[in-house]
């Protein structure tokens, strides 16, 4: 008798261990999670993400951030800084981990229920013990674990895609901040030049060779330059602060942040459309996310066809009866199976819902596939156009303006034109330089957007055309 009980106990133990082992397969650790996200986004961010949990880790990261802040922060460094420093990004990672953990939960079976009952009837004492667990849970375990894995995948892909989004924002904010700073510095230069001319006009008036009208006209440029400088100053602050927020810098760090004086030079060559196409087909996040979603719902549907009908519960029961009067004890052992009869609800609605979900997922995948190509083409076009325009400014427009200004200076030297004609020309120079800076900004924004689109987080930038309006021949006799 006792032996039989032991055997039963042994079996129970085994199956519990087996269950634990089985369910363990669908678990997810933070390290795995981070490794996966880093695999996905590594080439994109060019750095590693990590969720800091201990003080030591936090100090280490603060140190890295401090090191990065020592030199002017380039675009690449800005991304690194965001990776190690941004609390928002850390929050994102933590949330992602939570999501994955929730998803893993699906792959586990409900814990067995142990029930104990004690009944006294007269002199009889009956102790009932029952260990029951869902048989259906157990039978469908493999497929549920599959679902869990897919959901973990899905949450990891979603996380990766959010990271990409964040990093793209960092990149673009960096571009804007550097541009605004560059524009601000340039506005200061313009002001100095305008100041010189206003000063000259003032001196001319004071010796009597200029009247009030002519002087006022020259002064107007100066006044205009001052307005521009003020606006540019605010723009520089605003875009810098946006970057500060995205990098998650604290007060001290924000003060330490230095940016390069100007945007990097344009790449020697733009990415070719072929290269972009082949890059894009390899593992786009959005497509894989849609695929994972479809697979999850397809698998869930398979499981659902079964579970929607019925539920089966297996119970091992052992009842021991003590008869105090006779002093005997008898033990009854047995199994119990509960089957929920699909009498009223055949689970049709549940299956319909699942069907619909799968159908939706299928179509979402299809939509994603179709959108992916189109948005990539648009991104590429924005990138390529911005590149061509910026290059055109660099190789054609600015040098032309330079030639004009040099030739004007020669004419000024020869007293063929006056100093105020130089000034009129300098206004054209200002708008050309502004347009050139703007064109470079557009390129770098489009570049960041294209990178995000390539990895599967379609981001499009609107190209704004800010052509300089040079005055034609005008001054020059």
């Amino acid at each position: 008798m006792k032996r039989v009980l032991d055997v039963f106990r042994g079996r129970l133990m085994l199956s519990t261990i087996a269950l634990a082992a089985l369910s363990g397969c669908a678990s997810v650790s933070l390290e795995q999670q981070m490794a996966k996200v880093n695999d996905e986004t590594g080439p994109f961010t060019d750095g590693r993400l990590a969720l800091a949990r201990t003080d030591r880790e936090r100090t280490q990261r603060a140190q890295t951030a401090a090191d990065l802040l020592k030199a002017p922060v380039g675009q690449r460094e800005a991304v690194h800084l965001a990776l190690v420093n941004s609390p928002a990004l850390q929050a994102l990672l933590a949330r992602g981990w939570a999501e994955s953990a929730d998803a893993a939960q699906v792959g586990r079976i409900a814990n067995p229920v142990f029930s104990f009952e004690r009944m006294v009837a007269g002199s009889e004492l009956e102790l009932g013990r029952a260990l029951s667990f869902g048989l259906l849970d157990l039978l469908t375990l493999p497929s549920r674990q599959g679902i869990a894995r897919r959901q973990i995948d899905q949450s990891q892909l979603r996380l990766a895609s959010e990271v990409v989004d964040q990093i793209t924002q960092v990149r673009q904010a960096w571009v804007r901040a550097v541009t605004a700073q560059q524009t601000f510095a340039y506005a200061q230069q313009v002001l100095t030049s305008a100041e010189a001319s206003a000063d000259l006009a003032r001196r001319l008036q004071s010796v009597g060779t200029f009247n009030r009208l002519s002087r006022a006209r020259e002064q107007a440029f100066y006044a205009d330059a001052a307005t521009r400088l003020a606006t540019a100053g605010h723009q520089a602050t605003a875009s810098r602060e946006e970057l500060v927020r995205l990098l998650g810098l604290d007060e001290t760090q924000a003060q330490a942040l230095r940016l390069p004086e100007r945007l990097p030079d344009l790449p020697k060559q733009a990415l070719e459309p072929d290269a972009v196409g082949s890059l894009a087909t390899r593992g786009r996040l959005d497509i894989r996310l849609a695929q994972a979603e479809l697979q999850t719902s397809a698998q869930a549907q398979g499981l659902n066809t079964f579970t929607s009908f019925t539920d089966i519960e297996l119970t091992a029961r052992r009842n021991t009866r003590f008869d105090n009067e006779s002093g005997t004890k008898s033990t009854a052992r047995g199994f119990e199976i509960d089957v929920r009869l699909p009498v009223f609800d055949w689970g049709g609605l549940q299956r319909d819902a699942m069907n619909a979900r799968t159908l939706a997922a299928t179509n979402r995948l299809e939509a994603t596939l179709r959108v992916a190509g189109s948005s990539l083409r648009e991104s590429y076009s924005a990138y390529r156009t911005a590149y061509d325009i910026a290059r055109h400014h660099r190789d054609e427009v600015v040098p032309l303006r330079k030639v004009i200004s040099e030739e004007n200076l020669l004419r000024y030297n020869g007293m063929l034109i006056g100093v105020f004609e130089l000034l009129a020309d300098s206004r054209d120079q200002v708008s050309t330089v502004m347009a050139a800076i703007d064109a470079e900004q557009q390129f770098w924004l489009a570049d960041a957007a294209l990178q995000a689109s390539l990895i599967g987080r379609p981001t499009n930038t609107t190209l704004s055309v800010n052509a300089s309006a040079p005055s034609g021949g005008g001054a020059g006799h």
Binding site: G208, S405, Y412, M415, I417, E421, S426
Partner: protein
């Protein structure tokens, strides 16, 4: 054929003249071979070796066209063609002219000569030649459409007439005149008297030149032919100071200068140190009773004035158009008056608005040095010319009459700067300087204004300390 031999002989006389070779010799068999001048210098006078002898003229920065005698007819060959004329050292203009230069060569004949002029058109458009001031058959007057068909590109026309009256004349196109004269097509014609003439004195030096004007944008080469009034280059024989040769004479020489005006405005031509009389116009010698001494003769548009004087004052005498902006080269008319205002470096500050990193290696920094004050390519400085005492600060219609005791007769070479006798040069006064007394009462007004100005404006005149940079 004597032309080949003539050519070599004339080549010796006229300096850099060469025969044209582009036209086939067979085709040219009936024509005198055209002589082409390659240098813009003043050539020595062409002493006639055939026909009636005369005292030849010297064309300022120009030359006289050699001819050939053909059965008693003087034959000339003018080739109308695009030329590159050096207007001043370092400044060349793409003009149209005759036989390699603009203006064309001077044609010298003697009263009563039968003259035959072949005109070959190598221009991209039709042309004709009008013999300004000559008595000739109407059909030889050269007005295309009116008296003859125009000479089409590649064609050669012949003009033939007798030089009936002595005098100074001009020649120029009378087909698309505005363009062709703005491009520099013109030349001088002198008909010497065949015998002593009561109204034409014998002279030792006889100079001639044409007044012309161009509008060439600084840094470019070709005149803007549509310009009506705003010319920027005022030239003598398509040369501008300091590219105009000096008029070098011997002390007590009787000097004649013939000046024709083919610009679109008048030019008061002024000689320093001497008085002259206008002894002739394109209408011929003036009656003696009409002559009076002058130092400036205004030459109106389309006119010629012949002035005579005795060069009896030694020295270097300025000789120029008295419109002061005509003694300037290309200049801006909207340049503000900057005298008395320190504007050093302002231009650079104003103009330097393109950051260095944006354009690299476009131009070297060498030509941007402050000291050199570079000006556009192919542009004559607005005013320049280094004299023995510093910059002359002139341009355009300006030259120097050099009267020298030791200048040999018939020698036209530049004798260099005048050696002033001791104590005859203005110099700085180094003695004590007393402040001149000024009167508040000086100046005033005849009656007060109804509205008085808000503020009394004081006009200050300051002389520039140093303004030699431009």
């Amino acid at each position: 054929m004597t032309s080949r031999r003539d050519f070599f002989r004339y080549a010796g006389v006229t300096g850099g003249a060469v025969a044209i070779s582009a036209v086939s010799r067979v085709a040219m068999a009936a024509l005198p071979e055209p002589v082409i001048q390659t240098r813009p210098d003043t050539m020595p006078p062409l002493v006639p070796d055939s026909g009636t002898p005369y005292n030849p003229v010297v064309t300022l920065n120009g030359w006289t066209l050699p001819w050939r005698m053909n059965q008693g007819v003087k034959e000339f060959h003018l080739v109308a063609e695009p030329v590159v004329r050096e207007m001043a050292p370092g400044f060349k203009a793409h003009l149209w002219g005759y036989n390699g230069q603009s203006p064309g060569p001077t044609i010298e004949v003697v009263e009563g000569d039968r003259v035959r002029v072949f005109v070959t058109n190598k221009l991209p458009e039709h042309t004709s030649i009008h013999w300004h001031g000559q008595r000739l058959p109407s059909g030889m007057d050269g007005v295309s459409g009116l008296t003859q068909p125009s000479i089409q590109p590649g064609k050669t026309f012949v003009y033939e007439f007798v030089a009936r009256r002595p005098g100074t004349f001009m020649y120029h196109p009378h087909a698309d005149e505005m363009t062709q004269m703005a491009m520099g097509m013109m030349g001088f014609w002198v008909t010497h008297p065949k015998a002593r003439h009561p109204l034409i004195d014998e002279v030792q030096r006889d100079f001639c030149f044409l007044l012309n004007a161009y509008d060439i944008d600084p840094g470019s080469y070709t005149p803007k032919t549509m310009t009506m009034t705003d010319f920027n280059l005022w030239s003598w024989n398509s040369r501008i100071f300091p590219g105009i040769d000096t008029l070098n004479v011997r002390l007590n020489d009787k000097v004649r200068i013939r000046i024709g005006n083919l610009t679109m405005t008048n030019h008061p031509i002024h000689v320093h140190g001497h008085e002259f009389t206008v002894t002739g116009t394109d209408g011929g010698p003036t009656p003696k009773a009409s002559r009076w001494p002058e130092v400036t003769a205004d030459i109106a548009v389309g006119q010629m004035r012949q002035i005579d004087f005795v060069a009896d004052e030694e020295g270097d005498w300025a000789f120029h158009c008295h419109k002061s902006h005509h003694t300037m080269n290309a200049m801006g008319h909207n340049v503000p008056m900057l005298i008395g205002v320190d504007h050093s470096g302002v231009a650079r500050k104003i103009n330097k608005l393109i950051p260095e990193y944006m354009v690299m290696g476009e131009r070297g920094m060498a030509d941007m040095t402050e000291m050199e004050m570079p000006i556009p390519d192919n542009t004559a400085p607005m005013m320049t010319g280094e004299g023995p005492f510093g910059s002359v600060e002139m341009g355009g219609m300006f030259s120097v009459l050099k009267v020298r005791r030791d200048q040999k007769p018939g020698d036209y070479k530049d004798p260099g700067w005048f050696k002033h006798p001791e104590g005859t040069v203005a110099h700085e006064y180094t003695g004590p300087l007393a402040e001149p007394a000024r009167f508040k009462a000086e100046g005033g007004q005849s009656m007060p204004r109804v509205q008085s100005p808000a503020k009394v404006t004081e006009v200050q005149v300051r002389k520039p300390a140093s303004h030699s940079g431009h």
